[in-house]
Subunit: 229 residues, 2 copies
């Protein structure tokens, strides 16, 4: 059996619902927001405007007047949904981390076939970053507007992923399923490819490669790179 993007999406919805209610759940108390219906819609328009503006001019260069105009919400109105500009970035980061971890950590992979585990790991990462494309892109590009603590969380989960990949390759070698001569480099390569998917979305869109095809190609490359027998 192989995971597909469609089945992943179902899993995502069952697990998280959607990103806007997730943000609401995380922050409504802090911000004194009562009406879930209204607030989730506003979060959607605000954050999508933030994504659009920071994609073209960057988060720091985006002014709150820009955001007000783009979202159609007044300055005073905006401030009901965050307490200062930097908190917007923080909310996006924190919610994205929460969603990604919820999605990636439900499965306990250990003690299965390491090559299969590696496939699962890579596929799930592509799928979650496909579902949350703009979130991943934002977090990568704007991580400098962040405080140390959140940044550390991100770095940690980055490293966790890198090590997980490496471990599977080493396991596969140990179990004589593969003979990879440069596991460190190959795992770095695979991580770079996970990143490329959300950093260069336009490129793959232009080449008409969807998430499933990308995963298929990635897994083919894994077989060649670690020389699965």
């Amino acid at each position: 059996m192989n995971l597909s993007y469609e089945t992943f999406l179902q899993e995502f919805e069952a697990l998280i619902g959607d990103e806007w209610t997730c943000i609401f759940d995380m922050y409504h108390k802090k911000l004194n927001l009562k009406n879930r219906n209204i607030a989730t819609k506003k979060f959607k328009t605000i954050i999508e405007s933030v994504f659009k503006l920071s994609h073209t001019k960057g988060f720091q260069a985006m002014t709150l007047r820009d955001l007000s105009q783009e979202s159609g919400i007044s300055m005073g109105g905006l401030y009901k949904y965050f307490s200062n500009k930097n908190q917007i970035a923080e909310m996006i980061h924190a919610a994205m981390i929460h969603m990604a971890e919820t999605c990636l950590k439900i499965k306990e992979y250990r003690h299965l076939d390491p090559v299969f585990e590696l496939n699962e790991l890579l596929a799930r990462h592509i799928y979650i970053s496909e579902r949350l494309k703009k979130w991943f892109y934002f977090v990568f590009m704007e991580c400098k507007s962040l405080d140390r603590e959140l940044l550390n969380t991100i770095m940690a989960s980055e490293q966790f992923m890198g090590e997980a990949i490496l471990e599977r390759i080493l396991d596969a070698n140990k179990q004589n399923l593969s003979q990879c001569t440069n596991p460190d480099f190959v795992s770095a390569m695979l991580k770079a490819m996970l990143q490329d998917w959300y950093l260069k979305t336009w490129k793959y869109q232009q080449k008409n490669i969807n998430a499933d095809q990308y995963v298929a190609n990635l897994l083919l490359s894994v077989y060649q790179l670690i020389q699965v027998k």
Copy 2:
């Protein structure tokens, strides 16, 4: 024969000299700078300060007061070396493009063994981006502070590189030197790896992988991915 980073550095010096005189040559007329000796030194301290500050807080978030303090040059003094803040970014971009193109285009690769050509292409790119690490990183992260024209130049040279890689793979297939079933994906993968080298410098530094080792690993992967016979 194989190019090494050391021999590349000699070539670079012979061709360009160093980055600061390059910037001086490109901009001294516009800025009315007369003393080459003084100006190149100042450019060095200013731009290195820009790299440091924009690495930690981003170019947009960096204020000219920050820059003044970091470089030890007064506000008025700084403005002798650029006419407005955004021009700093433009100068860095333009100079970096100029240096990279000078380095990459001297060699006319066509009509040799395509696999050899591919190796050369990749190696040269790693080496130039190693020599100009901070420049490449800055251009990637801060390209949003740019006007359309310069951005287009960058995009064009990006695409040129991608196509050059792809062509070599297709040629190798055609000449029956390799049998790559997914040339589009493999070329995307190689490009991603070129980028990873200057985006994640700290990672490879930590793993004690230098430019030559990186190239060697990359070339090994090429052989596996395009299945050289």
